[in-house]
């Protein structure tokens, strides 16, 4: 955080900066809003990251978050509501990505072009902005401690909308994500689902940018499901575990970070990453033994493919 953390002074002092649990009870009261925000975000991220993984969209999430950052920075500069700004940026990105690229290659090149442009715009707006420096840095790396009540209301409202939207398109979206041609033949409106999902994703990204920061969004809108998919292939267990992992990452990260002088994001990203590593190891072990379910194993049937 400052010069003392570098060089010869690395020692107990740094640990004290990273972990400090003095007056923990008092602090908990202060960050009540942040914990609720983290929980909501963990659930939302866990749910939507299931489809982000199935549809191979992590790069799109990153691109969307950069444009969301640009929108939020513009709002900061022009004195508008930052939440609205980040929503506008995020939805614009989601619509462009959804409309232009149905094939992964098209999509990735569109995102690759959009992302630096968005980030550049954001840097420009922040450079022009004369307000608090903490506001600037927060958009990129998170400001979860600073979640105020209107922001929390936004977060909860949008999360409810996204969750209901996902619940409605859940089954056809799984079908369209795994086998688009067959799904279209069976009457699933595949062409409509893709932009609709991007819209929901844009909303979720904009909310995450508010809290975790534009650069770190993937740790809650990609990692949880990526971890879950290492250990299960059940279409119910993946979102369930993913939500659990998201929740543990955000709330756990906030609780660990309390009292330290460091932003909350590194705690969230580290917990999230640790969960992924553990799942990966468990999954590797499972793959080695053959992916045998309990039931099939009892019958002594070989179920893994050669």
């Amino acid at each position: 955080m400052n010069a003392r953390a570098r060089g010869a002074n690395v020692g107990p002092d740094v640990w004290h900066q990273i972990f400090n649990f003095a007056n923990y009870g008092d602090l908990l009261d202060l960050v009540h809003n942040s914990i609720v925000a983290g929980a909501v975000l963990g659930i939302l991220g866990g749910l939507i990251s299931t489809f982000v993984m199935m549809r191979d969209l992590p790069f799109a999430v990153h691109g969307t978050s950069e444009l969301s950052f640009a929108g939020a920075a513009a709002a900061l500069l022009f004195g508008a509501d930052v939440v609205v700004g980040s929503l506008v940026g995020s939805l614009a990105a989601a619509l462009v990505i959804g409309a232009l690229g149905s094939r992964a290659r098209d999509r990735n090149s569109v995102i690759g072009v959009l992302m630096p442009f968005g980030l550049g715009l954001g840097v420009l707006f922040l450079a022009l902005y004369k307000g608090r420096a903490a506001n600037k840095f927060g958009l990129l790396t998170g400001q979860i401690v600073a979640v105020d009540t209107p922001q929390l209301a936004w977060l909860i409202g949008v999360s409810v909308v996204v969750t209901i939207g996902l619940a409605i398109i859940w089954r056809p979206l799984i079908f369209a994500s795994t086998d688009p041609e067959l799904a279209a033949a069976r009457g699933v409106p595949v062409a409509m689902l893709s932009p609709l999902f991007m819209l929901l994703l844009g909303l979720a990204v904009a909310m995450s940018v508010q809290v975790i920061g534009a650069l770190l969004v993937l740790s809650i809108i990609c990692t949880p499901a990526a971890a879950a998919m290492c250990v299960t292939a059940s279409p119910r267990m993946v979102p369930a575990l993913s939500v659990l992992f998201g929740l543990v990452s955000t709330v756990g990260g906030i609780l660990l970070a309390l009292g330290s002088s460091i932003p909350i994001s590194p705690y969230v990203t580290t917990v999230s990453f640790a969960i992924y590593v553990v799942c990966r190891l468990v999954g590797a072990r499972r793959a080695k033994r053959g992916w045998v379910s309990v039931k099939a194993g009892r019958h002594g049937l070989r179920t893994s493919a050669d």
């Binding site: 299931t50 993984m53 199935m54 619940a167 409605i168 398109i169 859940w170 089954r171 056809p172 799984i174 079908f175 795994t178 086998d179 041609e181 067959l182 799904a183 279209a184 033949a185 069976r186 009457g187 699933v188 879950a228 998919m229 290492c230 299960t232 292939a233 059940s234 279409p235 119910r236 993946v238 992916w291 379910s293 039931k295 099939a296 019958h299 049937l301 179920t303 893994s304 493919a305 050669d306």
Partner: protein
């Protein structure tokens, strides 16, 4: 415009049925143009329950496009298409569809039984209440392709042949009366090819499901084929294997000398001119096998 030399109605339906049943599929003077190009025109075709119709033709001759029309994904330019007496429409439960084998991401979070279930209710909104999932139907469909033991295995971990068996179960779980197969044997090993064709054949014999089998390679399905629809250069022929797959008929169809050689239980076709249209699967320029 070309009229079929051999009328569709005199096809070689096996004599199992005494009364002539209603056709499952009817095409009447059907034409399809894509841009400037006419894929086929004046196509009349009746497919009866339990019939196995192989659809052959070079790349770009409109085989897959025909399936897209039957699936209701593409309108005809002229004529009509009736499935069980009703105009073809998108998402009909009466039609099962099996595509060519595609690689499935090993991390796909679906087990075999989940994939089959999507064939039943994957098009419905919502996520489906856990207690109301018709797992018994899924199990029957898996049993019909001898894949019950795979039910809990992640789809991405199966071999190509096992994935195709899953796709058959997925296509059949909604009890279709017409089964459309688009090159289902492509990139499978010969033994899996045999298994897949035998399963499809068993289904149409036991349940009278009509089968339209698009392929560029007739030999794996030769023992099962009742009739052949051969598409080439905007024209077509319908008839039994012997009526269509001979040097004279194919030479006339292509307007170029084609050599058809029958060698034991195999048919080899040589000299099919290369098509310059875009192709969706590679084929050797001088196709040795039928097609």
């Amino acid at each position: 415009m070309t009229r079929p030399l051999i009328a569709a109605r005199c096809g070689g339906v096996s004599g199992r049925m005494s009364a002539v049943p209603e056709p499952v599929l009817q095409l009447r003077a059907a034409s399809l143009r894509l841009g400037q190009r006419t894929l086929w025109s004046g196509l009349d075709l009746d497919v009866r329950p339990g019939e196995f119709l192989a659809v052959l033709g070079a790349n770009g001759s409109g085989k897959t496009t025909l399936l897209r029309v039957l699936l209701g994904l593409l309108p005809l330019s002229a004529g009509e298409v009736l499935v069980e007496g009703h105009p073809a429409r998108r998402g009909s439960r009466r039609i099962g569809y099996i595509q060519q084998h595609q690689r499935v991401d090993p991390r796909t979070p679906l087990r075999v039984k989940d994939v089959v279930r999507l064939g039943l209710d994957g098009h419905r909104w919502g996520f489906g209440r856990p207690r109301h999932v018709p797992w018994d139907l899924v199990e029957q469909a898996l049993a019909a392709v001898a894949a019950q033991h795979l039910a809990d295995t992640p789809i991405g971990l199966l071999s190509g042949g096992e994935q195709q068996r899953t796709r058959i179960a997925q296509a059949l779980v909604s009890e279709p009366t017409l089964l459309l197969c688009d090159e289902p044997l492509l990139s499978l090993d010969p033994s899996s090819q045999g298994t897949i064709t035998a399963l499809i054949d068993a289904r149409r014999r036991q349940r009278d499901t009509a089968v339209l089998f698009v392929t560029h390679e007739i030999n794996p399905v030769l023992p099962y084929v009742d009739r052949v629809l051969y598409l080439a250069g905007g024209r077509f022929r319908v008839g039994s294997v012997d009526e269509v797959l001979n040097s004279a008929t194919l030479s006339e169809l292509y307007g170029a000398p084609i050599e058809v050689i029958r060698s034991g239980n195999r048919i080899l076709v040589a000299g099919v001119p290369e098509v310059h249209e875009h192709t969706h699967h590679p084929l050797p320029p001088d196709a040795v096998a039928t097609g």
